[in-house]
Amino acid sequence: MAAIGAMGTEMALDQILGPEASPSRGRRRPRFRTWRLVVMLIAGAYFLAPIYAGLKFALQNDANHFSFFAVKALPTEPGFGAAFWLSIRLSFVTVVLSMILMVPTTIYVHLRLPKVRRVVEFITILPIVIPPIILITGVLGSYPLWLKSSPYLLSLMYVILAMPFVYRSLDAGLSAIDLKTLVEASRSLGGSMFATMRRVILPNLRAALLSAMVLTLALVLGEFTMASLDLWETIPVWIVNFQQSDGHVTVAASMLGLIGSWVLLTLIVSLDRSQSRRSLRKTGGV
């Protein structure tokens, strides 16, 4: 249910970054500062210590000396290649499916069915409320064997899990542009609906599309619950299964995964920020 975090991101970030601290608080500075320093130091220690330890552990050999052996050994460990390839295929299928389903739907809702927006919003929150563990047991209990025996069943479910992220990203992107005017302008110039979509709407949604895709990717690459219960060895499942063999390699794989997703997510957060700044400027100018 970590998903709420990402939704919070979009809502809270601008506000966190928005207004500067108000100037009329000067008098109580000194006392406040020690208090704040203590809080920040403790928080810093709690949040940074595991990162430091993880990195150090991943770059150590069994004799506790600095070494790249774990990172180098990773690709040749039994099962890693297959797990990696499976995760890549699943994420590709999920991202494509998710975009095909959600992009036209969200655009249509924005353009023609504003009344349905709340309904769609509510539905896309549901995957956060219903835990993945329950969803996957429901799926395993109700779907035919031929579907359950395909790994792409996971992709089908990941589209559901990614829906909150994807919808929120696209919704934010669409709210930031004047969709109706753009579409009418394009139509009155003789553009077909398809041309309008391809040459007007999608280019304007580039940042939102990218962030939706990256969030989906990060989700698929890190998802453990469904994959392990569906008995497919994706990367996270492999990491857990492999942990008995070599602690350093396991931690190295985890750290690579974490750093990879942190880079991806930091990218989105900054994209998000530039996008909302643009929309702010626009509303400010009008």
């Binding site: 552990f57 504003p114 329950i134 004047d178 619950t225 990491i239 997703s261």
Partner: protein, 312 residues
């Protein structure tokens, strides 16, 4: 917000100038189009949601009340609310409470510390970090903690070096409190994200008004700050409760499935590590979890309505 898309007659009619020249169609046809086109456009989404979300959820509820041969029974529910499964449920709720209240309070303090600080760089850093960290439960986080606090972890070894052995005091990672400790890593940032908008909603003028009337800082918080923030804080804690209650991957990877928590027990039952004849017990526990989460979300809705009274 500008009036958006009140025209639902379909793409063709919004072209300026074409209204009068367009051939008149029968009202029946027009109505058909007015209802039909949106229905058609929304069909894939709704069908997908029904297949991927609706059917599995209904299956869980249905199977919770079935024997393995498909007859109606209450035995699963009875089994799920007694013995080891009852303990699992209680543990789950206890852990969700601990990992919503403590990180909730810490999150508010941290958010307040950042928000009242002057450093814009710090604020940006923490904002980005919270957005990123709040999304990281799961396997990778678990192994990072094992590298730090596991029996051979870097920090465990440091503590050994200065003569403290946390493991001899029972402070180990694959335990109830160990798992709670790891959960805080994504729960605190989540609270920071959720509560910051509310903190920003506290208006400086309220504080000044209180000071003008002679209120001390304590009285300001006692009578203004906390009452205004309380619904938002409770709302944030409810979200944290749900997030922790539903978490599976972190606990499973950290403990290897030996800890008695409801989601872990469902996983075990589904994986077939169980006496035959109890296949549907997992669904009964799942149904119970759904009930708890439904209550949580209803409370969240109520609290949020209350929160928007002063803050928007």
């Amino acid at each position: 917000m500008p009036e958006q898309a009140t025209d639902v007659t379909g793409p063709g009619t919004s072209v300026p100038g074409s209204v009068t020249t367009a051939p008149r169609r029968s009202p029946v046809l027009r109505r058909l189009k007015r209802v039909g086109v949106p229905t058609l456009a929304m069909t894939p989404f709704f069908v997908y949601v029904i297949l991927g979300l609706g059917i599995p959820a209904i299956a869980v509820v249905n199977l919770a009340f079935r024997t393995s041969t498909g007859k109606f029974t209450l035995a699963n529910m009875r089994a799920a609310t007694t013995g080891v499964y009852r303990v699992g449920f209680e543990n789950s709720i206890k852990m969700a409470l601990i990992t919503s209240i403590i990180p909730g309070v810490l999150g508010v303090i941290l958010a307040y510390a950042i928000q009242t600080g002057r450093s814009g760089v710090m604020r940006r850093l923490v904002a980005t970090a919270s957005g990123v960290l709040a999304n990281f439960g799961g396997v990778n986080l678990t192994f990072m903690f094992i590298a730090a606090y596991g029996s051979q972890g870097i920090i465990t070894l440091w503590l050994h070096a200065i003569g403290i052995n946390p493991y001899s005091h029972g402070l180990r990672l694959p335990t109830f409190y160990g798992v709670s400790f790891v959960y805080m890593y994504f729960q605190i940032p989540l609270m920071v994200l959720v509560i910051t908008p509310a903190l920003l909603g506290l208006r400086q003028s309220w504080r000044e008004a209180a000071q003008n009337m002679g209120a001390s800082s304590w009285r300001y918080w006692r009578h203004v700050g906390v009452p205004v923030l309380l619904p938002s804080i409770l709302g944030g804690m409810l979200l944290l409760f749900g997030s922790s209650f539903a978490a599976y991957a972190t606990a499973e990877a950290l403990t290897g499935g030996i800890i008695a928590l409801a989601p872990i027990q469902i996983g075990d039952l589904v994986n077939g590590n169980v006496i035959s004849g109890q296949q549907n017990l997992g669904y009964a526990i799942g149904f119970g979890m759904l009930l708890v989460l439904a209550v949580t979300m209803i409370l969240y809705g109520l609290v949020r309505r209350r929160a928007s009274k002063w803050l928007r």
